[in-house]
């Protein structure tokens, strides 16, 4: 089986499992709704204050959902005793990484679209011209989170205190991505063109490249045992 075929197989399997059980998706949807309500209770009245904190709040929501989704990436393999199957898989195991990454990316982008939609509706936000730039930033930012998140999820999959260790490892490393996405989102929502946040976009692109390349190179090492 070719490399690309194997990666796609992993992604397809994950998405199929998710489509049938909808466990993670349900959890994420309810979680997002909960976030929405909490933010409304704490910030709802004051529109100016809301506009000021919206980028941070939005990405906080994205990150928390990402932690939930990524933390469960290898849950199926762990719970159903398929971990050995991963370790014994023939050929370049980085194909598994790509497949997992693709699946995670799809799931996270779906949830982020949902959250963004909910925010727009419930907080009456006008995205307007900001939307294309926002899409670029969200895509790059999500890729950054998912790239390292998938690698770290594999590393912490069989470790005790996994639920604690995974976010503790991921969040400090992701600070550049978080800073870049929040500041870029802030500028874009204020009506600035994508060119004005070019440095942030370049940082995100550089970060994504580094993260994906390093993960591809080291995933085999992680799945040695």
């Amino acid at each position: 089986m070719s490399y690309a075929r194997r990666a796609l197989a992993v992604a397809w399997k994950d998405l199929a499992v998710e489509r049938r059980s909808k466990e993670t998706l349900n959890a994420l949807v309810f979680f997002s709704l909960l976030l929405l309500f909490v933010f409304q209770f704490t910030l709802g009245g004051d529109r100016e204050r809301l506009a000021a904190v919206l980028p941070g709040v939005l990405w906080l929501g994205f990150v928390l959902s990402a932690l939930l989704a990524l933390g469960r990436t290898f849950l199926v393999e762990r719970e159903h005793d398929c971990w050995e199957g991963l370790l014994l898989a023939p050929g370049d195991k980085s194909a598994i990484y790509l497949g997992k990454l693709a699946g995670n990316l799809a799931l996270m982008l779906l949830v982020e679209t949902l959250v963004l939609g909910l925010f727009v509706v419930f907080f009456d936000i006008d995205l307007g011209r900001a939307l294309p730039g926002l899409l670029v930033v969200v895509l790059l930012g999500t890729l950054g989170l998912a790239a390292v998140g998938t690698l770290f999820a594999a590393m912490t999959a069989n470790v005790r205190a996994r639920e604690l260790l995974f976010p503790v490892l991921l969040l400090p490393v992701q600070v550049p991505v978080l800073l870049a996405t929040v500041k870029a989102t802030e500028s874009l929502l204020l009506g600035e063109p994508l060119g004005a946040v070019a440095h942030w976009v370049k940082l995100l692109a550089a970060a994504d490249t580094i993260y994906v390349v390093v993960s591809l190179l080291t995933f085999d090492v992680v799945l040695e045992g």
Binding site: P172, V175, A206
Partner: protein, 215 residues
């Protein structure tokens, strides 16, 4: 060899102490509290040395699977975290009387805080994995990811803020402070780097002994 490092470290630490209080002048604007700089800056810089060595040792381990590289990475991580933690604490103690606050989210402080938490996570990962071979492998991967992240952290945080005084030691034009400040600083820097080397050498020796004893 460990003992040689130890004695060199002890001597230079003593020299550094003498210079920090005997040779270095009373600073004009801040007063004597500025002498904290002679531990604060060396601690931070020595921790950078520790983290660079951690990155190199991690790479060497992944390529050669030499347990010695793993031990150096482990020890370097431990000493690095202690030094950077102390660096942050002394910086905070220095900041309270001079800036009026224990902490501020400027570029330099934020970057160092992130560094501290990242490498604390590194130690946590090591502590959580029981199998020594797997711990070595996973820590090496984390060490490399963390090292590659450092420039990203630096730039993102720097673009986000700037408040900390511009780095006077590493400015392109060269050091503008007087020599009576420079020499105590350099001596203390050497002292803490030697102390780092001593601690790492001793910790590596202990790690090897532990590995052999429990084999």
């Amino acid at each position: 060899m460990v003992r040689i490092f130890g004695w060199f470290a002890a001597i230079s630490l003593l020299a550094g102490l003498v210079m920090a209080f005997g040779v270095a002048p009373r600073e004009v604007t801040q007063g004597n509290v500025q002498r904290i700089m002679y531990v604060h800056v060396p601690l931070i810089l020595a921790s950078y040395v520790a983290f660079v060595l951690l990155a190199i040792a991690s790479l060497v381990y992944l390529v050669r699977r030499d347990p010695r590289a793993d031990r150096v990475a482990h020890a370097s991580g431990e000493v690095g975290v202690i030094f950077v933690g102390l660096g942050i604490a002394t910086g905070s103690i220095w900041g309270k009387p001079t800036w009026g606050t224990w902490w501020t989210w400027d570029a330099r402080l934020t970057s160092v805080a992130i560094l501290f938490v990242m490498y604390l996570g590194y130690l946590l990962l090591r502590g959580t994995i029981e199998d020594p071979e797997r711990a070595a492998r996973y820590s090496a991967v984390l060490g490399i990811v963390a090292a590659l992240d450092i420039p990203l952290v630096h730039f993102s945080v720097y673009w986000w803020r700037t408040l900390h005084q511009p780095p006077s030691l590493m400015k392109p034009g060269g050091f503008t402070g007087s020599t009576s400040i420079l020499w105590p600083l350099l001596v203390n820097l050497l002292a803490f780097v030697l102390l780092y080397a001593y601690f790492v050498a001793r910790r590596v020796r202990l790690l090897r002994a532990e590995a052999e004893a429990t084999a």
